[in-house]
């Protein structure tokens, strides 16, 4: 009864004191906007991850090795090649990923922060996993590794800073040895020293020599298909167990598992952030309760008049609950608009930042319909919930005391 009149009155009283209304709604606005932004960015991130996953292919297996375990043996690249040759149906390629500590020099210029990595010829297939694409020349080949050729593929940072973009065919010095540049990589994002574009890839055999050990911490396998990845993973794990006699020293993960983990991590992160935002909604609810209590005592006389005309408790309660619900719903809508705006503005900025960090896939955040619906529902719910107490207080007022109230 009289719902639309109550609703209209609520809007009217919001409009008649805009600053107060805005302050009342602030908590709700911030909370809702935060939820919209977080979920928008989160789902954008998830989309980007999934895109990268498609790029990377579902048929990769990453192997991390942490140490030597109980045994004194180590697993080197040749062991992995042998494992591959024994299981041609499940493993089709492998590259080590060896970080090299070395001094990079061109003429008198030194590049102290450049990442030097040793890889096999199979890296060519899997370069996209590491966010690399070839711009010109070639990747490391079988003979480079077999004959320990002094060749390298350089990132765009050195290509631009040392060679003005014409590095192909030139030479660069690694620990005093000249390396011929046989390939140049595509730039992705900003050129920063030591950043995503500042890499040099050399044959893994050379890397082992430079490091003085054939120990490897990271391998990347490729297998024929996603469906056999689990079997391939078991083959690798079993082999590593036979060497290390413990599961503590290695970690084998397929790309499907990786992406699941990533998605889970993003979800957990999002949940945590949304929970934090929910605190703001709670504070907003308390703000609404506070202002409704003020409103009830300001309008005690009105309540008395309404009661003298026959308003029952539930009529008065409904009036104030609707007012509280309307207030927070309006706050919710403002929050949604604000959140959508922030998401839209932040999306391209974040895309820039991501590619600067070496990510490929495009990052495109937009508020999700589900989040909008839930945010709106939650804000109305909060208004109703926190409005109930003041509304009930109003409903229970004694008519004669209310009428006499000045």
């Amino acid at each position: 009864m009289g719902i639309e009149q109550n609703f209209r009155l609520a809007i009217k009283s919001l409009m008649s004191s805009k600053v107060r209304a805005l302050l009342t709604m602030l908590g709700i606005i911030i909370g809702v906007a935060a939820v919209i932004v977080i979920t928008g960015l989160g789902s954008g991130m998830q989309r980007m991850m999934n895109e990268q996953f498609e790029q990377l292919g579902a048929n990769r297996i990453q192997v991390n090795i942490f140490g030597r375990g109980g045994g004194s043996r180590i697993v080197d690249t040749d062991d992995m090649y042998q494992l591959m040759e024994k299981n041609p149906d499940y493993l089709t390629g492998v590259t080590p990923y060896i970080s090299v500590r070395t001094l990079v020099r061109y003429g008198t210029e030194e590049f102290k922060r450049t990442n030097v990595i040793g890889v096999s010829e199979d890296f060519a297939d899997m370069a996209s996993v590491f966010g690399e694409t070839l711009k010109e020349g070639r990747f490391i080949q079988y003979l480079d590794a077999a004959r320990k050729q002094n060749v390298c593929v350089i990132g765009s940072y050195i290509n631009e800073t040392a060679f003005n973009g014409n590095g192909l065919g030139q030479t660069i010095t690694l620990s005093g040895t000249h390396y011929r540049i046989v390939g140049v990589l595509e730039a992705s994002g900003d050129l920063v020293e030591g950043g995503g574009n500042d890499y040099i890839y050399i044959p893994y055999t050379n890397a082992c020599t430079l490091n003085g050990t054939s120990e490897v911490n990271l391998f990347m396998f490729s297998c024929p298909g996603e469906d056999t990845a689990a079997i391939a993973k078991k083959i690798i794990s079993d082999y590593l167990y036979s060497v290390y006699l413990s599961e503590d020293y290695y970690y084998v993960v397929t790309s499907a598992e990786m992406i699941t983990m990533m998605n889970m991590m993003i979800s957990v992160m999002m949940t945590v952030l949304v929970a934090i935002a929910a605190i703001s909604l709670l504070v907003g609810g308390i703000g609404i309760m506070n202002i409704m209590l003020v409103s009830v005592s300001e309008r005690t006389r009105e309540i008395g008049i309404r009661k003298s005309l026959g308003a029952k408790r539930r009529d008065i309660r409904l009036q104030f609950v609707i007012e509280a619900g309307t207030t927070s719903a309006v706050g919710g809508v403002i929050g949604i608009v604000l959140g959508a705006l922030v998401t839209t503005v932040a999306s391209p900025i974040l895309t820039g930042m991501m590619s600067g960090m070496g990510g490929s896939g495009s990052f495109n955040a937009s508020p999700t319909a589900g989040a909008v619906a839930i945010a709106f529902g939650v804000s109305v719910g909060i208004g109703v919930l926190f409005g109930y107490l003041p509304a009930n207080k109003a409903a229970k007022l004694n008519p004669i005391d209310a009428l006499r109230y000045e």
């Binding site: 009289g2 009155l9 309404r306 009661k307 003298s308 026959g310 029952k312 009529d315 008519p399």
Partner: protein
């Protein structure tokens, strides 16, 4: 035939710390359907207290109040609200219109709470406004009207629900003498049409417009009879009392 309003040995006692005030001190009043009664008395004599009880806005500390044969003195909040809505119409000294609602919406309020549909509500509100000659102001806001007009709106609001009793507490208290006369004439007219009216005033010249006068003093009825009896308008010597206190 039982009376429309039947106050039976009504007490209203306010406790203020260790003292207690007997606002009503054993009041017996019967009012028949169709009567026009003025309740008079000095300030603090208990007039408003009596009206609040008659109007189901308050409950007596002791005693029984029957309205139209039904005991309402022990009713719960919402039951009393129902009675107020269906049987009682109030006119207050300060008009008590809701400032954020239009004139028409104010008049519709009791119908709204009675659950009357929008179209019927509008029709009855307009009819009530026509009766007080303010149909053309239906869309105005209360603060756009003069005091006298606002009081007429509040009369229309009291009439809209077609109540059994109209209760008016100092309805002319805030009006000038000419507008006061208009309002009084209007109440008399309503009475002639069969409405039961209880008017509260401390002004004898107004009280004599009613058929019957009930005079209160210190929460007791000290006169109850026709308004043309000379005793009706005799003020008890208040000097004695004040010295006594």
């Amino acid at each position: 035939m039982s009376a429309l309003i039947e106050l039976n040995n009504i007490y209203k006692i306010y406790h203020m710390g260790d003292t207690s005030v007997h606002a009503l001190d054993g009041v017996n009043i019967e009012i028949q359907k169709g009567e026009f009664v003025a309740i008079v008395g000095q300030s603090g004599s208990g007039k408003s207290t009596a009206m609040n009880i008659i109007g189901c806005l308050d409950v007596p500390t002791k005693g029984r109040y029957r309205l139209n044969g039904v005991d309402v003195s022990t009713m719960k909040d919402d039951e009393q609200a129902e009675i107020r809505n269906k049987m009682l119409g109030f006119i207050f000294q300060q008009y008590n219109l809701l400032p954020k609602l239009s004139v028409q919406e104010n008049v519709e309020l009791s119908l709204l709470y009675a659950g009357v549909g929008a179209a019927e509500r509008r029709r009855r509100a307009m009819k009530a406004l026509q009766r007080v000659g303010l149909a053309n102001k239906a869309r105005n806001m209360p603060n756009q009207l003069s005091g006298g007009q606002q009081q007429r709106v509040s009369i229309a609001r009291a009439l809209a629900g077609d109540p059994s009793v109209i209760l008016a507490d100092e309805p002319t208290g805030a009006l000038d003498s000419r507008t006061s006369r208009e309002v009084l004439s209007f109440l008399q007219e309503l009475n002639r049409e069969g409405n039961t009216i209880v008017l509260i005033t401390h002004d004898n010249s107004i009280a004599v417009r009613a058929q019957r006068i009930i005079r209160l003093q210190d929460g007791r009825v000290i006169y109850d009879g026709p308004s043309d009896d000379p005793k009706a308008v005799v003020q008890p010597s208040d000097t004695d009392e004040e010295v006594a206190e």
